[in-house]
Structures are given as C-alpha cells and as structure tokens.
C-alpha cells in the first residue's frame, strides 16, 4: 500500500527538524525545499493524479489524501496540495495539461491558486476583472492568501469575464505564467511560516490560450479544483490532528508530575480518549469524501464539506489539547508542538473554514 512507503518517507525526509524548522530559521523565501519536491517526484507523488499516459501515476483522491495525511502529521512544507492536487485537477483535460504536467511530474514546477479576494474563502465573490483586449484579455484587481504564489511557475487566477461579484456565472480561470508584466506579488510569511501572497494585477495582458477550460465556464473548473483542494486539506488537517495527538499521547506517558505520569490522571485520559475518537471520525469522514469524489458521486460535494468542517473542528481541538497537555514546554519555540497549532490555523482557513463548510452542509 501507498501508505507503507509514504509514511516512513515523510517521517524521515519531511520531518520538522530538517524541513519546517530549517526553512523557517533560515528565512527561506519559498517556505519549502525544492530538493524535497524533487524527492516527491522520484516517488511518483507529484504526478499522483496525472494520468499514466501523461507520465503520472493515474491514482485518485484517496491516494493523494494518503500523502496529505502524512504531510499533515509531519508538517512537511511542500507545494503538493496546491500543485499536485488542486492545480492538476484544474488543468486536467485542458490544453494546459500538456504544457505544465511534465514539469509537475518532474518536480520542477510549482503552481498556485489565486481565488480569494477577501479575508474569508468565497469563490464566487470574485471582482478581479478580465477584459477582452486584442487577441486575449487584460486582468486587473487583487487577490489574497495565494499560497506559494512567489514560488510559482504558474498561477491559476479566477477572474470575472461576465456577471458580477457573488455570481457563479461569468467566471473564467486563467493560467498566468511567472513574471507576467503588471503583476505585483507581495510575498508574506503566514503564522505557520508558509508563504502566501497578496497579488495586485494592473492590466496584466494574457493571450486567449491562457484560459483554463471555457470562457465564462470557470465555475465548473473551480468546482472540481476546490473539491479536490478541500478534500486534500481535510486529510492534511486529519494528519495535523493525528500528529499533534500522537506527540501528546506519548508525552502523557513520559511526563511526570507529583511523582506520577500525567497520563495516569483520569481527567486527561478522558479528554485524550474523546479526542482520539474525534480524530477517527474525522478520518472516516475524510475517507468517505475522497471515495465519493473518485466515484464521481453526486454526494461528493456534501461529504467534502463534511470532511473539511469536521477535520477542521477536530484538528483545532487536537492542537489546543496538545498545547494545554504539554504545559509550559509546549509554549516554547524550541518544542515542536507549537508548530501544529500554527499549521492548523492556516489549513483550517485554506479552501474555506469549518464554518463556511458547515453552512454549505446545512444549506444542502
């Protein structure tokens, strides 16, 4: 099984000490290591969703999520979720696949998604405008929370070619190559030391073939992209929860206070057992969402939202309990557990918060 190879790989090569903490401490502008991304490629992970005939592994969301759970468990910084999952889903079946998939398979290409314009995820609330201009389009507007934008070879940008902000009609997705003129990238460190940018588009000119899918048909592309991204983020959150919990459960067995292991205190035992159960439930919900996506089920969107909402809530509880149960040591930068809380907050918001997804579930 895939997990048997990915789990030790991520635990060895993707661990906090040599990846997250290292890149943070040296102030790396990417927030991740390109060498590791190459290693992902060697294991066939970067092309996990890419069809075999295009050089990939031709696997599905279930397998991508196996990777993401291990990424979450080890807090491994990489462009896997944005590039190998979301961007691949966006480009599949379009002319952009031919152009970008080889680089992704090779671990040489990084892609980013520029969708949100406000502080909360709201993919229909696009105001960034793409006006017809000559043979192509001219883009003006702004984006925020564009993960890996400054490291990206290509940025997929949701723009408005018709309709108005809040409508799902009239959206078009564009693939903008690195270094486009008129595009300003303000590369920002997030709380978890990952990098996300605010983008300013001032009449960025692109050819007509920059369109991904159909003009005014961006919502269809976005839907499959966001479903894959949300499902993947749910797995990453489950991994974050499991990683934080594992470290905490170990600590409960080792740490002594008042002459006994703190794991012997019943109040902590019950909280730990409750949390363990919640993580199992989040994992099952996340697995079901991936299965439904791979089957193309009409229920997939519902369960993707269930998965993202549940894994978000559960992982938040997990990191809170982790910090509290670690006590003072967990508050120090020297200890790794704090990184879980920071990463949780970022992935929690990515592709929509638990509240966003719970409201989607309730509105079904």
């Amino acid at each position: 099984m895939l997990q048997d190879s990915v789990r030790p790989f991520m635990a060895d090569e993707g661990k906090i000490e040599t990846q997250l903490r290292h890149w943070r401490d040296i102030g790396c502008k990417d927030g991740f290591g390109h060498d590791l991304w190459k290693q992902f490629a060697e294991l066939g992970l970067t092309g996990i969703l890419i069809p075999e005939e295009q050089g990939g592994s031709g696997l599905g969301q279930i397998e991508a999520n196996v990777v993401l759970e291990e990424i979450g468990r080890n807090l491994t910084p990489s462009p896997f979720l944005t590039t190998a999952v979301a961007a691949v889903r966006a480009m599949e079946g379009t002319a952009h696949a031919d152009k970008w998939f080889p680089g992704i398979v090779a671990g040489e290409t990084v892609a980013a998604l520029a969708i949100d314009e406000g502080k909360h995820h709201d993919p229909a609330a696009v105001a960034l405008e793409a006006k017809r201009s000559g043979n192509g389009f001219s883009l003006s507007g702004k984006k925020q929370f564009v993960v890996h934008a400054a490291s990206a070879d290509v940025i997929l940008v949701a723009a408005r070619t018709g309709g108005s902000k809040g409508e799902t009609e009239g959206l078009t997705l564009f693939a903008i190559s690195k270094g486009a003129k008129g595009l300003e990238i303000d590369n920002l460190a997030m709380a978890d030391s990952s990098k996300a940018a605010r983008l300013q588009f001032d009449n960025v000119e692109v050819d007509a073939d920059a369109v991904v899918g159909e003009v005014d048909g961006g919502w269809d592309v976005l839907k499959r992209t966001l479903a894959a991204g949300s499902s993947g983020a749910a797995s990453e959150l489950t991994g974050v929860a499991a990683g934080a919990f594992g470290m905490t459960n170990d600590y409960l067995k080792e740490r002594k206070q008042f002459g006994t292991e703190i794991g012997r205190f019943q109040a902590l035992q019950h909280r730990a057992a409750h949390l363990y159960g919640e993580i199992e439930i989040a994992r099952a919900a996340t697995l079901k969402a991936a299965q439904l996506l791979d089957e193309g089920s009409p229920q997939a969107d519902l369960f993707v939202s269930v998965a993202k909402a549940k894994s978000g809530a559960v992982s938040r509880l997990a990191v809170q309990e982790a910090i509290q149960m670690h006590g003072g040591i967990g508050m120090t930068d020297e200890h790794d557990i704090g990184f879980y809380m920071k990463r949780q907050a970022v992935v929690d918001e990515l592709f929509g918060s638990p509240n966003y997804h719970a409201l989607k579930v309730a509105g079904r």
Partner: protein, 385 residues
C-alpha cells in the same frame, strides 16, 4: 468482482420480489421495529411476511453460517446486502438481542449442541432474549455481581436479583451472569441461559423519568437451570460477558445515526430555528454525517475482523452522545410545544419523553465514562487507565 456484481443483481431482484411495499417505508416510531418472540404481536401482515421471507433465506442474520439459520454470506456479500437494502429503504426484518448480542457469543463460545438448539430459533424470530447483567447498587461495576448459582449436580440453583433488564417482562429467555465462586471477582462468574417462564422468576417494571418502563427488576428465587445451559466454562463467564458487551456497544452506537424518525424530528426543529439554533444545527449536521461515515467504516472493519476490540466503546460513546445532542436540539426547536406531556396534540408528550429516554443512552451498556476509560486503556495505553 464479477461474482459480487452478479450477487448484487441477485440481491436486488430478490428484494424487489420479496419485500412488501409497506416494508420499504421509513419507520416512524419504535413500534415499527420487529422484535420477534413467542408473544410478539405483528403490526401488520406485511411485517410478518417480510420476517418469514428474510428468515427463509437466512437474511435476518446474513453473516451467520447456514447450518444455524444464517445466510452464510462473506463480509463482502454482507456489505452488498446492507447497501442494497439501504438503497431500497428496506426495513430491518428482525431486531433482537438474540441477533445482536447472544448470537455472536454463542457462535464463539457455545457448544455445537447449544448452537443448533438456540441459533436457528433466534434467526427465525421465534425467541426473544433479555440480558441479565446489572445488579442493584453495582452500576458500572458489572463484575461486582452477587446473584449466585449453586451447583446441585445436574442443575444450578439460581438466587438473586438483576436490574435494568430490558424488556424482561416481554422476553422468553434470559442470558444471565451469575456468581459460581467467590474466590475472585472476575474469575468466579458464569454465563447461563434459561427460560423466563421457569419457576421462581419474577419481573417488576421500573418506571423511568420519561414515564415509560422499558426496564425491569428481575428476581430469581430458587430457579433451577439445567447444566447444559451453561455457556463456556464455569467461572469463565466474564470472558463471554466482555465479548458480548462489545456487541452491545456496536448496537447502541447505531443510535448516533438517528434513523428516519430522527431526521423527521430534526426537520421540525429546523423549521423557523433562531439564528443560534441554526448554527448549532449546522454543526450537528456535520457531526452526524461524519459519524455516519465512521459507522459505515467501522462496520466494514468489524465484519472484516479488522476492528480493534475497544473500538465498539468508541462508537458507543460517540453514537450515544450524538443522539443525546440530537434530542436536545429537537427540544430547543420545539419550544413550548415540546414541553407538553399529556395532550393528544403532542402524541402524549412523545417529544419530551423520547428526549428524556435518550439520557439513559450514555449510561446503559456501560457509561460514557466507562467507554472513555476503555479507550484510554486499550487503545491509548495510558498508564493506570
């Protein structure tokens, strides 16, 4: 794979042919459940017909061996049957403690003779069982039981008292924990089966806060139990009891799913919910659907023999807490309508009585605290748990 596909086709066809239309309607209350037993009064001819049809193919207990009245299905086949029944909204033909609790224990610990004697009757819904575990004052400490069985040569003489015996007044037989030795707490317990019509057995319903009496106090006064009704070895009944408790917990965890009755209740609560209740309902939806995914996953693992032995405790805990929350939300949504206790309009206070009933969910079959302790010990392996 091809075999399974043809099996699925066969299942669909057979269900189409054999399930009466009224047995494909969602159940609306507890009363639609078919419990079987000597004195069971069928709600309808359809209910009876469907039980008989299912039993004839062994599909009241699809994964039991055919020789004991089961369907002899593999885990994959069982899963398909469950899925097809769910798709067609087919009601469970038979629900009983015999199926969910005693049967698995007999399959594992019973003698060949015991299996042949009891399992087919269970599968056909001809016998209704109750469980004699709890005793007055013992509460969560099940193994602290006092009911004693003395060895009288060809039989045991049972004296003592049980409490919280579900439906003891409607049951035909009881599976019962008794003390056969005082030498050790867990090591002196035996597992007996006997007829509730035996001389010396009396039952007394316990009135609950809901006003219902689903439980009894059950008294044994010189009850004679033939020795061939001992399951497993004498003084090793605790092993059987623990195994069976896991199955009880599986069954109880199903409450978390709420069933059809649960969801119609919820839709009433949702109607004109205030903004805070609406938010709570949204979160509940997420948790209920996630738990549904977990239940499916758990049953698959269980049937494939891959579930951790303590996992039923987790499911029991999560499922019952979820069910309690569901009924709290229903009460909030119902406002003062949901407080009426005796009116016809309120169906004699069904909403508040059901709500109060759920408060026992996290107590019966092992409290939530007991389940959490089991998880802490057996899965998390925390010291002293």
């Amino acid at each position: 794979m091809a075999d399974l596909e043809s099996f699925a086709r066969d299942v669909r066809q057979w269900l189409e042919d054999n399930v009466p239309a009224s047995m494909r309607e969602p159940m609306t209350s507890e009363k639609d459940v078919c419990w079987g037993g000597r004195d069971f009064v069928f709600q309808s001819d359809d209910q009876k017909a469907w039980l008989e049809a299912a039993a004839s193919r062994g599909w009241t207990v699809p994964d039991w061996p055919k020789e004991y009245g089961g369907g002899g299905l593999s885990p994959e086949e069982s899963k398909i049957l469950r899925a097809e029944m769910k798709k067609m909204n087919v009601r469970t033909p038979l629900t009983s403690f015999g199926i969910s609790m005693l049967g698995p224990a007999l399959l594992k610990f019973g003698t060949e003779e015991q299996k042949k004697r009891f399992l087919p009757e269970i599968a056909r819904g001809e016998i209704r069982w109750c469980q004699g575990y709890s005793e007055p004052g013992a509460g969560s400490d099940l193994a602290g039981l006092q009911t004693k069985a003395e060895d009288k040569g060809d039989h045991y003489l049972v004296n003592g008292q049980k409490v919280w015996t579900s439906y003891a007044d409607e049951a035909d037989w009881i599976f019962c924990l008794v003390r056969t030795s005082k030498e050790s707490k867990h090591g002196g317990i035996s597992f007996l089966l006997f007829d509730m019509a035996s001389e010396g057995v009396t039952t007394k319903p316990i009135k609950l806060i809901s006003g219902y009496s689903p439980f009894c106090e059950t008294f044994f006064d010189d009850v004679k139990v033939p020795k061939d009704q001992l399951v497993h070895n004498e003084n090793e009944g605790w092993t059987v009891a623990k195994y069976l408790l896991g199955h009880e917990r599986e069954m109880i965890s199903g409450m978390g799913l709420g069933g059809e009755a649960g969801s119609s209740l919820m839709s009433e609560a949702i109607a004109d919910a205030d903004a805070i209740l609406a938010a709570d309902l949204a979160r509940f939806d997420v948790d209920a659907l996630a738990f549904q995914a977990m239940s499916e996953h758990f049953i698959d693992k269980l049937k494939a023999g891959e579930a951790h032995p303590a996992e039923p405790s987790l499911m029991k805990y999560a499922g019952t807490e979820l069910n309690k929350r569901r009924h709290e939300l229903v009460m909030m949504g119902g406002g003062s309508n949901a407080l009426e206790w005796e009116s016809e309009r309120s169906n004699n206070g069904q909403t508040p009585r059901d709500w109060l009933r759920t408060k026992a969910n996290s107590i019966e079959g092992g409290t939530s605290e007991i389940q959490l302790g089991i998880v802490a010990k057996h899965i998390l392996q925390l010291p002293g748990a």
